[in-house]
């Protein structure tokens, strides 16, 4: 597979144009606020660690009993209730329709659903935001 210069430039231009969108900026601001808040980022990390542990146990054929899931659900509840995390979730809900509309333009050109082919094969349950190369990037967390 070779990405032509034209495709590389067009992909970068699209990314840059999306980056300028007001809602995307607001979303990145909300991500940064979560990262900068020790309580919120700690809740994120604890929830992610707890999730990873549950997955590891399940993969090791030692699936947790229902009562052992309670601490995870409690952490998740606290995380969702945190005002900064809730604000980030709200920001994402505003961003998605815009992204869908833009992706639709690609799909129209192709005559097939770009997102279905370009997104990860497995549905992704949750992501967190981190800083990478000076950019805030929404990444897979659990």
């Amino acid at each position: 597979m070779v990405l032509t210069d034209g495709i590389l430039v067009a992909a970068r231009e699209l990314g840059k144009a999306l980056r300028e969108d007001a809602y995307l900026r607001a979303y990145r601001g909300a991500c940064q606020a979560v990262q900068d808040d020790p309580e919120a980022s700690d809740l994120e990390k604890q929830t992610s660690d707890a999730y990873e542990e549950l997955i590891a146990r399940e993969q090791a054929d030692a699936a947790p009993m229902p009562h052992e899931l309670q601490p995870f659900y409690e952490l998740r509840r606290q995380r969702l209730a945190h005002p900064l995390i809730a604000k980030r979730g709200h920001a994402m809900r505003l961003v998605r329709p815009h992204l869908a509309e833009i992706a639709e333009e690609i799909s129209l050109q192709l005559g097939m659903d770009y997102t279905a082919l370009a997104a990860a094969a497995q549905p992704v349950s949750a992501y967190s935001c981190s800083t990478e190369g000076g950019k805030i990037l929404c990444q897979k967390a659990n």
Partner: protein, 133 residues
Amino acid sequence: MDLDLGNWARPAEAKAEATEAAKLLGGLLRQTAEYEAYSNSLKAMTDDSGVARVTREARSHWSAYQLGGDGGQRAGELMRLELELEDNPLVRACRLAEHDVRELFRAVDEIVSQEAGIEFAANAQRTGGCCGR
């Protein structure tokens, strides 16, 4: 819940730019060998009477299976038809072409996402999405 959009807003301009960039990108992807191969293999597969027959049979068994009629035999038939499909050269060619086009689109999406600061395709899907918690 209010979001502070501050002085950032140039939404109409930014949207127009993104729309144009998306159209251009879609057009360029359409010209790739990977897209052409996938598109052709899809057409060949859907036009093939053998594939259509197996698909029709599978659909009929699936409907009957869901209605609860003779579950074991239906499940066996479904498995046999699935194997028959997987063994069909047109279906195999289509799977391979799909793999290549996915690889291309994912590489492109990675670039878009890096620049945008958000996973583009995953969050642009009409159903689901990855980040809204």
